[in-house]
């Protein structure tokens, strides 16, 4: 299968290893990965901040990059960006009176998958250890991000994939379905409320005794990880794609002050 990778802006610029892990997983399964060079961002930040006019150019760029027959499906390692492509792009086009873009956006949206959706529903991965060679001997908890949970209805796809990784010990996160408080520019415009939400999330994560909190949205992980780091916690965050891509021979390493069991730092 020919799979187009939508890296998303935040992963492209801040977490390249999440996209590299995604590429690695798909290639290990024997698929061809292409990276449409014109891509930049889904425009979610503009839309969620009310800047529809500015969002139009961003959405148009995404549609231009992905509206080709040169691939079978598109994938992104981010629930919220996929939700934006599927649920916001047509609305932006409609509000800006661009019927042509609206139709093309619908076409692109229909071909776009979140990574765990693609792995589970299309590529039939049920056991990461066996089918992907995934190995990660650490204690991990999992935060299901709001957009994946409520807009894409990912249910336990990400969690089940993580739980099937060789050597992993999953611990349940209390009140996992509660928002971490990121919400894009919400974290700046309502910094106090956002911080209060993040503090409760961090307390729940630390209470599990996990070494890491995993999830499927780089932005939520950036937010949660940023809060944990400021509190001086040794618990880090890591995208589930990187855990799936970790193997016995080539284990994933973690940045920052995070201390994994057995690490020399």
């Amino acid at each position: 299968m020919k799979i187009a990778l939508f890296a998303t802006c935040i992963v492209d610029a801040m977490y390249p290893r999440t996209a590299q892990a995604t590429v690695s997983l798909l290639e290990r399964l024997g698929h061809e990965v292409v990276f449409p060079a014109g891509q930049a961002c889904c425009g979610q930040m503009h839309v969620n901040s009310g800047y529809f006019k500015e969002a139009h150019a961003v959405v148009a760029n995404h549609v231009e990059a992905f509206d080709t027959d040169d691939y079978d499906v598109a994938v992104a390692p981010s629930g919220s960006c996929v939700a934006s492509v599927k649920h916001q792009h047509e609305m932006v086009a409609r509000r800006c009176g661009d019927a042509g873009l609206e139709a093309r956006a619908a076409k692109v949206g229909a071909k776009t998958y979140e990574l765990s959706q693609l792995l589970t529903d299309v590529l039939g991965i049920t056991n990461a250890a066996e089918q992907l060679g995934s190995y990660f001997p650490h204690k991990v908890t999992y935060h299901p991000s709001c957009h994946g949970m409520r807009l894409l209805r990912l249910e336990d796809r990400q969690l089940n994939l993580l739980a099937s990784v060789g050597g992993i010990q999953m611990v349940e996160l209390p009140q996992a379905d509660q928002c971490c408080g990121f919400g894009g520019t919400f974290s700046m415009k309502n910094a106090d409320v956002s911080s209060a939400m993040n503090a409760d999330k961090a307390a729940n994560i630390c209470g599990t005794g996990a070494e890491l909190c995993s999830g499927g949205d780089a932005s939520c992980l950036l937010h949660i990880g940023g809060g944990l780091s400021r509190q001086g916690s040794e618990v880090g965050t890591l995208h589930f794609a990187e855990i799936l891509a970790s193997t016995f021979a080539n284990p994933v390493t973690v940045t920052g002050d995070v201390k994994l069991a057995g690490s020399k730092r």
């Binding site: 492209d12 610029a13 800047y51 940045t255």
Partner: protein, 512 residues
């Protein structure tokens, strides 16, 4: 104020007044409320209790989702045909001896109610808890006119005695715990047992004793209504304590204030809502008291039955193509009980009578987004979507929040001469994100970010509005190269893995 003055949609939408406006921007109010530890503890406990109860009783119904669809469809049909349904309701209500008055806004509604009370010669009225009368500030208005209004709902009574404002649609005193309630009763009730404890049963007994005299002596009652049934002209009040039934049956004159959106087309439609409402609001299968009345029944119950039909911004909301489904709201409060923002700030932070997620859309829809302080309400959400999942009539609150943010940005576009920091940030991001080559160019600066982060490998302070982020969060040092750069320079397609061996030759790229 005769009937039939309202015929269909007004040519210009009427914006609402009264207690619909925040008095300060949400972030400022939220900052203050967040500092109240007691409030947060009370709220956290109460919202989680109701939340769990609701989930339990909702799970009992195999057709809950279909029921939500039915509720949403009935309400959409009502809004699509509102002028005709209002006419039909008026004809039926009037034919059964009721009298209808139309009020464009809070001021008109307050004047109508005052005039009706004056006609009776009374200076005291009992009240059933009502959001519409909170919205128009009726109690305060009556007080100015020398008329005392006594709230009879327990929680509403607590709030009134404490000279406070309700902070929740269903549980107005959710922000107070029982020891606080005890203190209020001891301080404010004219006759009260000085040995009153904070046991719920003792508190309820004190309230009952206090209210009984009012019920038996009152000649006039003021109520709201949960539903108006167009095909029969019937009004409905759904409640838990029985105080509503006392008010609705004992006095001689009954004055109801109801928003024009509260109609249901037929009596049969009530079936759906009597299942949706109690489960969503109190987490009960059925509420204890449902009162229905149709005009006047000679010799039984109030003999003077009035209804004030309130617009106060509802036609403005109805005129908003994207926002009008907010009028489907049946005031169950399920959205606020699941909202992580409401849970931490409480209802007072929203300013308006309608707090929480529904208030964040309903208030600005009714007052207009140009209303200065209410324009901050659509941003009081992380868009987590829990409210949409909980809403029994499927109001897509997150989508309407985003729509209203767009309205706010557009309304300020024309008038602001100096762009705000947010405007500049969005403009810059538009450039960066509208071409892959632009983002690629910016990513060449990543090593600078890494340099700025220094040895600690984190960025601890950002300037301007981004500083909100770094008040409680670090930003990790950016990588030396972006994914795009790695893909262009270093990506070599990896060979397929042999399943089960646990090895691969994938290129993991640069390790920080």
């Amino acid at each position: 104020m005769s009937s039939n003055t309202f015929l269909g949609m007004p040519s210009l939408p009427v914006f609402g007044h009264g207690n619909l406006n925040a008095t300060e921007p949400f972030p400022k109010a939220a900052h203050r409320e967040l500092g109240n530890e007691q409030l947060r503890a009370n709220l956290g406990h109460a919202t989680h209790t109701i939340r769990d109860k609701r989930l339990k009783v909702v799970a009992e119904l195999p057709d809950w989702e279909q029921m939500r669809d039915a509720g949403s469809a009935i309400k959409n049909a009502t809004m699509a045909n509102l002028p005709a349904l209002l006419d039909q309701f008026e004809a039926n209500f009037t034919a059964r001896g009721g009298i209808i008055h139309w009020a464009r806004d809070a001021q008109e509604a307050n004047e109508i109610v005052t005039a009706l009370i004056r006609e009776t010669g009374e200076t005291e009225v009992v009240k059933v808890k009502s959001m519409a009368t909170q919205e128009i500030g009726l109690n305060e208005y009556l007080e100015e006119q020398g008329i005392a209004a006594f709230e009879t709902d327990l929680a509403e009574l607590i709030v009134q005695l404490d000279h406070d404002k309700p902070s929740h649609i269903l549980v107005p005193a959710i922000h107070k715990n029982r020891s606080q309630v005890r203190e209020i009763f001891l301080r404010e009730m004219p006759v009260v047992d000085p040995n009153l404890t904070d046991e719920p049963a003792r508190l309820a007994e004190a309230a009952r004793t206090h209210l009984r005299k009012k019920f038996l002596s009152a000649k006039v009652a003021v109520s709201g209504a949960n539903f108006g049934l167009a095909d029969t002209g019937t009004l409905t009040v759904v409640e838990s304590e029985g105080n509503g039934r006392m008010c609705l049956t004992l006095p001689e004159t009954l004055i109801t204030v109801m928003g024009i959106e509260k109609l249901l087309p037929t009596w049969q439609d009530l079936e759906v809502f009597m299942q949706l409402l109690p489960r969503s609001s109190t987490g009960e299968r059925m509420n204890p008291y449902t009162s229905l009345w149709t005009g006047v029944t000679p010799g039984d119950g109030p003999q003077n039955v009035h209804l004030v039909m309130l617009d106060n911004g509802r036609t403005a909301a109805l005129a908003d193509e994207y926002g009008r489904t907010a009028l489907n709201c049946i005031r169950c409060s399920a959205c606020m009980n699941v909202c992580p923002v409401y849970e931490r700030t409480g209802g007072h932070a929203y300013g308006s009578t309608y707090p929480g997620p529904i208030g964040a859309i309903l208030s600005p829809l009714m007052t207009g987004i140009k209303s200065e302080e209410n324009s901050s309400l659509p941003y009081a959400s992380s868009l987590c979507g829990a409210c949409f999942d909980a809403c029994p009539v499927k109001i897509n609150i997150p989508e309407i929040l985003v729509h209203l943010r767009g309205e706010d940005v557009d309304s300020k576009r024309s008038k602001v001469k100096i762009p705000t920091q947010m405007d500049l940030m969005m403009k810059g991001a538009e450039w960066a994100f509208s071409k892959g080559s632009h983002l690629g160019l910016l990513e060449k600066g990543l090593p600078l970010g890494k340099l700025a982060a220094g040895r600690a490998k984190v960025i601890k302070r950002l300037p301007g509005i981004a500083g909100g982020w770094t008040q409680s969060r670090d930003i990790p040092a950016p990588p030396s190269q972006s994914f795009r750069q790695w893909w262009d320079k270093d990506h070599q397609p990896s060979a397929a893995v042999v399943p089960g061996t646990g090895t691969s030759n994938s290129s993991e790229g640069e390790q920080a």
